[in-house]
C-alpha cells in the first residue's frame, strides 16, 4: 500500500496546473473524443432519445461504481456487489406481498447494510484479505438469491413500484437524476470532507493513518457499507425498471464496476480516488455499445454488437 502513496506523489510533484489537470483527467478527453467520433459516424447518436437511452443504460452501473470508489480508495476490493445487486433486486420484489413496497425496500437496505458491516468487520478488524472475503461473500449472496427464488424469476405485482426506476421528470428519467445526484454527493464526500480524507489516508498508508488518530477499522467498515448500499440501490432500481428480478441479474458485474472505477482514476492500491470520473467512464462504455446498436440493422452486425457488448462489459464471461 505504501508504494501506492509513492506513486501518487510522483504524479503530483513537478507538474504545472494544466498538465496536471489533463493527466488526471485523461479519461474525460477520451470520452470527448469518443462522443465526437460517434456523432460523426452515426446519424442517430445526437437525438434526444438516444442520449437519454444511453444515460439510462449507464446509470445503475455508474451508481455501483461510485460506491466501489470508496472501497478502492481505502485500499480494498468489493467483489460482492454484483451478487448483492441480484439479492437486493430479488428481496425488494419477493418481500412486496408481505411487507408492501416501502417495507420491502427498507428490509433490502437493512440487509445490504448488514452485508457491508460483515465485509467491513472481516476486512477492517480481522484484517482478512478483502479480495477473498468479498469473493466468498459473493458466493454466499448468490446462493441466498438462488435459494430464495428456487432459481426462478420473480414478477412484481405492485404497479406503484415501477415509478422508482421507471419514472421521469420533465423527460429526464429518474435513474439519470439519481446517478447525477449521487455522483455530486459522493465526490463532495470523498474529496471535500473529513471522512473522505480519512478514507484516502487509510488507503495510501494505513499505518500513518493509525498514528494520525484515524480509526482505520471503522473507516474500512464504512466504505464497505457505502458500497453495499449502492449495490442494493442498484438492485432496487433494476427491479423497478423491469418489474421483475432474476437471481443472476448482477452476476459478473463486479469486475466491470472495479475497472470503471480504476479507469476513472482510483488506484487499486488505495490512497487515490475520484468519484466524478467513474461516471465519465461509464458513459464511454455506454457509447461503445450504442455505436453498434444504432447502426446495427442486420443480424451479422448484431452479432458483432453482442460480442463487443459482452466483452467490453465483461458481462457474461463470469456468469
Amino acid at each position: 500500500m505504501s508504494s501506492g502513496a509513492v506513486e501518487a506523489q510522483k504524479v503530483v510533484v513537478g507538474k504545472t496546473g494544466l498538465r496536471k489537470f489533463l493527466e488526471q483527467n485523461v479519461i474525460l478527453l477520451v470520452l470527448f473524443i469518443m462522443i465526437v467520433f460517434m456523432a460523426a459516424i452515426s446519424d442517430d447518436f445526437f437525438t434526444t432519445d438516444n442520449i437519454i437511452n444511453l444515460l439510462r443504460q449507464i446509470s445503475i452501473l455508474g451508481i455501483l461504481t461510485l460506491g466501489q470508489t470508496f472501497v478502492l480508495s481505502a485500499g480494498n476490493f468489493d467483489l460482492s456487489v454484483g451478487a448483492l445487486l441480484s439479492l437486493a433486486s430479488i428481496l425488494v420484489i419477493g418481500l412486496q406481498p408481505e411487507l408492501g413496497v416501502g417495507g420491502a425496500i427498507a428490509i433490502t437496505l437493512v440487509v445490504s447494510i448488514l452485508v457491508g458491516l460483515c465485509n467491513g468487520w472481516l476486512v477492517g478488524r480481522v484484517k482478512a484479505n478483502s479480495f477473498i472475503v468479498t469473493l466468498g461473500m459473493m458466493s454466499l449472496l448468490q446462493a441466498a438469491a438462488l435459494v430464495f427464488t428456487g432459481g426462478m424469476t420473480l414478477q412484481s405485482q405492485e404497479p406503484s413500484f415501477a415509478t422508482i426506476g421507471g419514472g421521469s421528470l420533465g423527460g429526464m428519467p429518474y435513474l439519470v437524476l439519481y446517478f447525477v445526484i449521487a455522483a455530486i454527493l459522493f465526490q463532495l464526500l470523498l474529496n471535500h470532507s473529513v471522512f473522505g480524507r480519512k478514507v484516502l489516508l487509510t488507503g495510501s498508508n494505513s499505518v500513518a493513518a493509525r498514528f494520525a488518530g484515524v480509526k482505520v477499522g471503522n473507516i474500512v467498515s464504512w466504505t464497505f457499507v457505502i458500497s453495499s448500499l449502492t449495490a442494493a440501490f442498484g438492485g432496487i432500481l433494476i427491479s423497478s425498471r423491469i418489474m421483475s428480478a432474476s437471481p443472476t441479474a448482477g452476476a459478473g458485474m463486479e469486475l466491470d464496476v472495479i475497472s470503471a472505477a480504476v479507469l476513472g482514476g482510483t488506484s487499486i492500491y488505495g490512497g487515490e480516488g475520484r468519484a466524478y470520473n467513474p461516471g465519465a467512464w461509464r458513459t464511454y462504455f455506454g457509447d461503445y455499445d450504442e455505436l453498434h446498436d444504432t447502426d446495427g440493422d442486420s443480424v451479422s452486425v448484431s452479432d458483432d454488437d453482442e460480442r463487443i457488448g459482452l466483452t467490453v462489459c465483461g458481462w457474461d464471461r463470469f456468469s
Binding site: D44, T47, D49, N50, N53, Q57, L114, L117, C118, G120, W121, R125, L140, A143, L146, V147, G150, G151, M152, T153, Q155, G166, N218, S221, I238, R241, I242, M243, S244, S246, P247, T248, A249, D289, E290, D293, T294, G296, D297, S298, V299, S302, D303, D305, E306, G309, L310, D316, S319
Partner: protein, 325 residues
C-alpha cells in the same frame, strides 16, 4: 457494539447455511444410497447445465415429479455452466454406477470425450432438453425435448395471424451460435416466407435471453426502424423486455410474439400486452426425459427423437395454462 453485531450476523449466516445444507443433504442423502439397494430401486443420474436458469430449475422439478411417480432415485449434479466441470461430473456418475444418465449438456461438442469414456460403463445416456448434434448422438440412446424448428414455425403462424399477413417486423434473437437461436430463427424465417410473403423482417438484434438487454435492443430497434407492426422474440423473457420498451415509447399497438410460456409471458398475454406465445413446458420436458430413461432401463423399445408438444397460447385459451417458470 458494531463488532458484536457483526459477530451475530456471521453466526446467523453460518447457521442458516449449515441448516440449509444439512436439510438438503438429508433430503438428497437418502437418494444417494448405493444403487444396488435391497429394494432394487433404480437410480438415474442427471447432469444439469446450470440450475440458476429458471427454465432448468423448473425442468428439475419435472424430473423429480416423474421420478417419484415411477419410483426411481435421482442424483442431480449441476455444472454451473462450466464445460470441464460437466465432463468430470459424468465421471462422478459412472463412479456411482447409476442405471441411466440424463444429460443436459452445457456444450454439445465438449461433452463428447466424456461420452466416449462412458461407453465402456454400458450406462445408457439420453440427451435432455439440449441436442447433441451428429457426433454426440452416436453415443447416446435418445433425445428428449422440444423441437426448436417447430417453435419457430409456430411463432411465424402467430405473427401471420396477428398482422393479418402484412407488415414489417423485427426479430430479437437469443445468444448467437446456440442451437435454439439458430433453429428458432430458421424455422420462423422459412415458415414466414412460405405462409406470409408480405411480412418483411426489417432488422434483428441480439437480446441474449436477457430482459434488461432486450429492453435496450428494442429501444435501439425502434430508433432505427420507426415503421414496424410486429416483434418476434426468441423467448418470452425477451418478448416482455421488448414490450416494456414499446410501452415507454408509446408504441403499444405493435404486436409481440414469443416462445416459452413463462410466467411473465402468460401474464402479458392475459393483460393483452403480448399477442401470443408457443408453450415449451419445462415440467413436461423433464417428465419426458425420465419416462424415456425408465423405458431404457427396462430395455423397452424407444424412438431416438422424443419431442414434447408445443401448444400455442393466445388471449382466447390463456386461462387454461398455469405458468411453470
Amino acid at each position: 457494539m458494531k463488532k458484536m453485531f457483526s459477530l451475530v450476523l456471521v453466526g446467523v449466516l453460518l447457521t442458516m447455511l449449515i441448516s440449509g445444507c444439512s436439510s438438503s443433504a438429508t433430503n438428497q442423502g437418502s437418494k444417494n444410497e448405493p444403487t444396488e439397494a435391497a429394494s432394487g430401486q433404480k437410480t438415474i443420474g442427471v447432469l444439469i447445465a446450470g440450475q440458476n436458469a429458471p427454465y432448468l430449475a423448473s425442468y428439475v422439478k419435472g424430473l423429480q415429479k416423474e421420478a417419484e411417480a415411477q419410483n426411481v432415485e435421482l442424483v442431480i449434479l449441476d455444472a454451473e455452466w462450466k464445460i470441464d466441470k460437466q465432463s468430470f461430473q459424468m465421471q462422478n456418475l459412472i463412479t456411482k454406477k447409476v442405471d441411466a444418465i440424463v444429460l443436459n449438456a452445457v456444450d454439445a461438442k465438449a461433452i463428447v470425450p466424456a461420452l466416449v469414456k462412458a461407453q465402456s460403463s454400458n450406462i445408457p445416456i439420453i440427451a435432455g432438453n439440449v441436442g447433441l448434434e451428429e457426433e454426440g448422438n452416436k453415443y447416446i440412446k435418445a433425445f428428449t425435448g422440444a423441437d426448436s424448428i417447430t417453435e419457430g414455425q409456430g411463432a411465424a403462424q402467430l405473427i401471420k395471424e396477428a398482422l393479418h399477413g402484412k407488415g414489417n417486423i423485427v426479430q430479437i434473437i437469443g445468444s448467437p451460435g446456440m442451437e435454439p437461436t439458430i433453429n428458432r430463427k430458421k424455422g420462423f424465417e422459412e415458415e414466414l416466407a412460405k405462409i406470409a410473403p408480405d411480412i418483411q423482417i426489417v432488422a434483428s438484434e441480439v437480446g441474449g435471453w436477457d430482459k434488461a438487454k432486450s429492453v435496450t435492443a428494442m429501444e435501439n430497434l425502434l430508433t432505427a426502424n420507426p415503421d414496424i407492426q410486429g416483434v418476434y422474440a426468441h423467448d418470452d423473457t425477451m418478448a416482455v423486455g421488448a414490450i416494456q420498451a414499446l410501452k415507454e415509447h408509446k408504441k403499444d399497438s405493435i404486436k409481440v410474439v414469443g416462445i416459452g410460456g413463462s410466467a411473465a409471458g402468460i401474464d402479458a398475454i392475459k393483460v393483452g400486452d403480448m399477442y401470443g406465445t408457443n408453450l415449451q413446458s419445462p415440467v413436461q420436458d423433464g417428465v419426458e426425459a425420465i419416462k424415456v430413461a425408465v423405458k431404457l432401463i427396462n430395455k423397452e423399445n424407444i424412438e431416438f427423437f422424443n419431442y414434447i408438444e408445443i401448444p400455442k397460447i393466445t388471449k382466447e385459451n390463456v386461462a387454461n395454462f398455469t405458468p411453470e417458470w
